[in-house]
Each structure stands twice: as C-alpha cells, then as structure tokens.
C-alpha cells in the first residue's frame, strides 16, 4: 500500500496530541477518586464535619478534571476508526473486545455512581453515598484496566491468544483469558494506576503545603497533607517496584524499545545502564561501538542485564544485533525476517486468487505455506509461523530502511530517564513529608512545604514521559512485530487530517486554559469559599 508519509506523520501527531492531552487528566482521576473515597470513609467513620468539608473540596476539584478526562477519552475510540481504520480492520477482532468490555463493566459504573457521588449528598443515605464514591473510584480504575489490556496487546501480541486468519485477512482472537491476564498488560495496569495515585497525592500534598505556607486553612491543610503523604509514600514506592517489573517485561518482549531507551547499539553481556548521558541521533547500521552513541555518559555497570534479565551477566541485544542478527543468541537478521514476512504476504494473495478462481488445491497449498512453522522451541512448546511474521514483510520494501526497525534513540532515552529520575524524587519527597507529619513538624517545616509546592507539576511530566516511552518506544509498529504504523493509517487526503488536527488543538488550548483558570480560582478561594 502506498501511504502518504506526510499524512501519516500528521495522523500520528494528532493521536499523540489527543493521547497526551487525555493523559493529563486520566492519572489525576485514577488517584483523586481514591483519595476522595479515603476522605469520605474517614468522614463516615468519625462523623466529623471537617472531614466532610475536606471531602467536598477535593471532590469539587476532582469534578473539574473528571469532565475533561471523560470528554477527551471518547476521541480515541473514534480516532481508532477515523484515522486508523486499517488498524481497526486488521486487529478489531482482538482490540475491540476489551474496549467493549470496558464500556460494559467500567464506564457505566463510573458515570452512574459519579451522579450519586456528586449530586446525591442530600438525596441518598450516608452509606449509599460512601459506597458510590468507592464504586466511582473502582470503576474509573477498571476502565484503565481494560484500555491497558488493549494496549498490552499492542505491546506484546503473542500468538498464544491471537493468530492471523488467512481467510479473513486479519488478526483474530483465540484465547480471551490469556489476553486479559498476560503479565505485560497487568504490569502496565499497576504501573499506570499507581503512577496516578502518586500524581494525585503530590497534588493534594502540594496544595495543602501552599495553604500552610500562606497560613490559611491550617487544619484542613494538615489533615489533607497527612492522607496524601501516606497514600503517596506507599504508591510511589510501589510504582518504582512495579516499574522494575514493567521494565523486565519490556526488555524481554520489546528488545528494540529497551535498547533505544538505553542507547544500546551493540548487544553485550553484563550490559550497563546509562544513569546520565547525552545520546546522539545515529543510525544503528553505521555504529560500531556503544561509545559512539553518546556525547557523554555515566554508566552503572551490569545494571541493565540485572534489571532487564535478572542476571548481572545476561546478554542484552543491541539495536545493531536486531538488524544484523546474532547467531550466538539465536537472533535472525532483519532481512531474513522480512523475507519470511514477504512470503507470508504472497501466500495471502495466492490464497485469495485461488479462491476467486475456485482452485481448491491452490488454496490449500497457499494456506499450508502460510502457516508453516519457521522457528520452534519444542522444550518450551512455542513456535513461530510465517503468518506470525507477516508484519516484517513491510521491511522487504526496498524504500524502507532497516534503521526504521527501532524508534529514534534520543526522545525515548530522555523520556525514560527523566521519568525514572522523577520517580525517585517523589519517593524522597513523600518520605520527608511523611516523617515530618508523623513527628508533627510539617506545619512549621517550610523547606518541605516549598519542595512539595514546587513538585506539583512534576508528576505530570513524569506520566507524560512514561507514556511517550511506551508509545514512541513501540515504533515503527502499532502492534509490535505484527502491524507497522505505516500500514495502520486510514487512506485519506492530508488536508482532512490537518484540519481535524487544528480543530482539536484549538479546542484543547481553550478548554485546557479554561480548566486551569477554574482550578486556580477554586484553589485560591479555598475550602470554605469552594461552593
């Protein structure tokens, strides 16, 4: 298929823009919904009015974000169809199912109980209201679960739950349970929701610290800060621990992503992690050693092998190995994978030509070759057929450079490292805050208060960069190893995509500024003048 590459870039930019904008609000909703539920539980348990005030103030802020998160979420569902229609065609059978389940089990829970939680303070009993607030939190987190199961499929489309059907010329589901519980998806879910908890906790902690610095709403701020610091401390530690597990899954399912994130061009045993560095934008095919890849770097030896493979001396493949192959470790050159993918594509055409001609024998022959096993590990009971490698056929096109098999190194490297760095800072911040809260010195500890206030925007940077690591890092694929991004896009004239891009950009700028202004106004007027 001939794709207008400029249009492809615009379609990608549009999706990236809407996804990032959406992802400003999502983690906040994930975390804030539970924080509000915590506050309300304390209110119901103690029956004290000040806790109700605290609950309602943070719920108001939650509501302002919730609306924008919800509205920007629907964009993606539509965009999968409008801008990525070929993608929807090829993987809809697998990808559509979690989305539909998300609608049935999560969205309605979210929307229905949000109505009670927001408007039902005087219309239902305390118990029903509290249950609704919890169900709203659980519902919004469950919607994250299902969309991340769908995303997990894009990151690791194993042939254990899906296969390419030659008859319908698309991927089809073969095992829903495995799709749901595959660790890649579950780890992603935990990493994203706990990042959301951390983000919301920092927000509450920071705003509370701001009130204390200004000497306003002291009792309100101290109590809010205590809850936020406790939740944040556990979440930020968990996000790091599960982040390590996430990195392990990525390292073993998406070797190009981890190699790009660490600027590892030549694979090695006992591979290091670059703690700090400035990577160059190089072509892996032209690099001969890992030293060339950086302007300067500080390494932690053997750490990548340890974290990625759980063995300090394990081999981690580099970008060059993934293009040129490495016989010692069983990696094939890209050209060989591309050739097999090309043959699979030819079989697909032969099959349908034969079908049109009514040639049964021809169909059988093409089908047999299409599903021919090209690699297998009998001991572990896994295999790859030509059909599994059909995506690599894209690289058999003479105008597709093998250097396109991995994402650009600098953006993935920076996004990943800044995210990790910020993650460690959050743990430290929560630890300091928590200690001083328990000791009763938080109220007068202006240093920690100032650090908390300054840190408020940081988790948004961390979550956005995390998302970029995951999504830019997966390039050039939409479905890793199966469907190239260039073959996912809707064939449509460039102007349409540009027009909708600016339409959304305008709306986002206006709505984003409006939401910030409203938010600042509410924060400024504080809990008493909130309503």
């Amino acid at each position: 298929m001939n794709v207008d590459l400029t249009m492809l870039e615009w379609a990608r930019a549009q999706f990236a823009m809407t996804a990032l904008f959406h992802f400003f609000f999502v983690p906040f909703t994930l975390g804030m919904s539970f924080i509000v539920a915590f506050f309300e539980t304390i209110y119901v348990k103690t029956g004290k009015k000040e806790w109700k005030e605290i609950t309602q103030f943070w719920q108001l802020i939650f509501g302002i974000n919730f609306a924008l998160g919800l509205s920007t979420g629907i964009i993606h569902e539509f965009e999968f169809g409008t801008n990525w229609s070929t993608y929807s065609w090829v993987v809809g059978d697998l990808f559509g199912a979690p989305l539909a389940v998300e609608g049935i089990v999560a969205f309605f829970m979210e929307a229905t109980f949000a109505a009670i939680s927001f408007f039902g303070w005087k219309r239902v009993s305390k118990g029903v209201h509290l249950a609704s607030t919890w169900l709203l939190a659980i519902g919004s987190n469950l919607s994250a679960l299902w969309i991340l199961i769908a995303n997990g499929f894009m990151q690791h489309p194993s042939n254990e739950f899906g296969f390419f059907n030659i008859e319908t010329s698309r991927l089809e589901m073969s095992d829903f349970w495995t799709l749901i519980v595959q660790p890649v998806a579950q780890v992603k879910f935990l990493h994203v929701v706990t990042a959301g908890y951390t983000l919301a906790s920092i927000f509450v902690l920071g705003i509370s610290a701001l009130y204390l610095l200004k000497g306003k709403h002291k009792d309100f701020a101290k109590k809010s800060a205590a809850v936020a610091a406790a939740f944040g401390l556990i979440s930020s530690i968990f996000v790091a621990v599960i982040g390590d597990e996430h990195a392990y899954e990525v390292a073993n399912t998406q070797p190009t992503k981890i190699a790009s994130a660490e600027g590892l061009y030549v694979g090695e045993k006992g591979a290091p992690i670059v703690a700090i560095g400035i990577p160059k934008n190089l072509k892996a095919t032209e690099v001969t050693s890992n030293e060339e890849g950086f302007v300067f770097k500080i390494e932690l030896p053997k750490m990548l092998s340890l974290l990625g493979k759980r063995d300090p001396n394990a081999y981690v493949p580099g970008l060059k190995d993934l293009i040129e192959g490495n016989e010692e470790y069983g990696i094939w050159p890209l050209s060989k994978l591309a050739q097999i993918g090309k043959e699979a594509r030819e079989d697909l055409f032969k099959y349908h030509e034969a079908k049109k001609a009514g040639d049964k024998a021809g169909m059988e022959a093409a089908k047999a070759d299409f599903y021919k096993v090209v690699w297998e590990d009998k001991e572990k009971g896994i295999s790859l057929t030509k059909a599994d490698l059909i995506g690599y056929g894209y690289f058999a096109n003479s105008n597709v450079s093998p250097d396109l098999i991995y994402p650009p190194v600098p953006p993935v490297f920076y996004a990943f490292h800044i995210m990790v760095g910020l993650g460690f800072w959050f743990i430290l911040l929560f630890f300091m805050s928590w200690i001083s809260i328990v000791k009763g010195t938080f109220e007068n500890n202006t240093l920690v208060q100032k650090l908390a206030v300054i840190s408020v925007p940081l988790p948004w940077i961390a979550t956005s960069f995390g998302w970029m690591t995951a999504e830019i890092g997966r390039q050039p694929w939409t479905v890793f190893g199966v469907l190239p991004t260039a073959e996912s896009v809707t064939p449509i004239a460039l102007q349409n995509v540009q027009a909708t891009f600016f339409l959304f950009l305008t709306a986002f700028v206006i709505l984003g500024i409006a939401e910030l202004k409203i938010l600042f106004t509410v924060v400024k007027s504080g809990p008493k003048g909130a309503h």
Binding site: V181, P183, V227, S235, Y248, N252, T253, K309, R310, K380
Partner: protein, 70 residues
C-alpha cells in the same frame, strides 16, 4: 510496610530467569510463553495495595495525632 516489601521481594524473586537463546526477533521465549498465574497475582496486587494504603492512611492520622477517633 516491611511486610509489604518482603512480600513483594518474594513475588519478584520467584520470577523466571531469562533464557540464553532468544527468539529470532529478539524476544525472550520465557516471556513469550504467557504466565497466566503470574498475571492473576499481579492483578490482585491492586485491591491489596488500596486496602494497605487506606490502613496506612489511618495509621498516619493516628500516629500524628491529627485524628484520634479512627
């Protein structure tokens, strides 16, 4: 807290080690083979985490003296 960390260490420690030989596309065969049990365990960490967090919030409020009536 310590218990939680120890529990997590046990979980992660029990993980499979990576293989020497990779698949043709560089993926590790151990991970390609989907471990559904591990996936289910991972999922249930979520409600546990929420419960532990809430308990820790109560503990913090009591310990700091901000709310004694919990």
């Amino acid at each position: 807290m310590k218990k939680l960390i120890t529990l997590l260490m046990v979980f992660f420690g029990s993980l499979l080690m990576a293989s020497d030989k990779l698949m043709p596309n560089g993926i590790d065969p151990e991970v390609h083979k989907i471990d559904t049990t591990w996936g289910v365990i991972l999922f249930f960490m979520w409600p546990i985490l929420i419960i532990v967090s809430y308990k820790f919030v109560e503990f913090t409020l009591k310990k700091s003296g901000l709310e004694k009536d919990l």
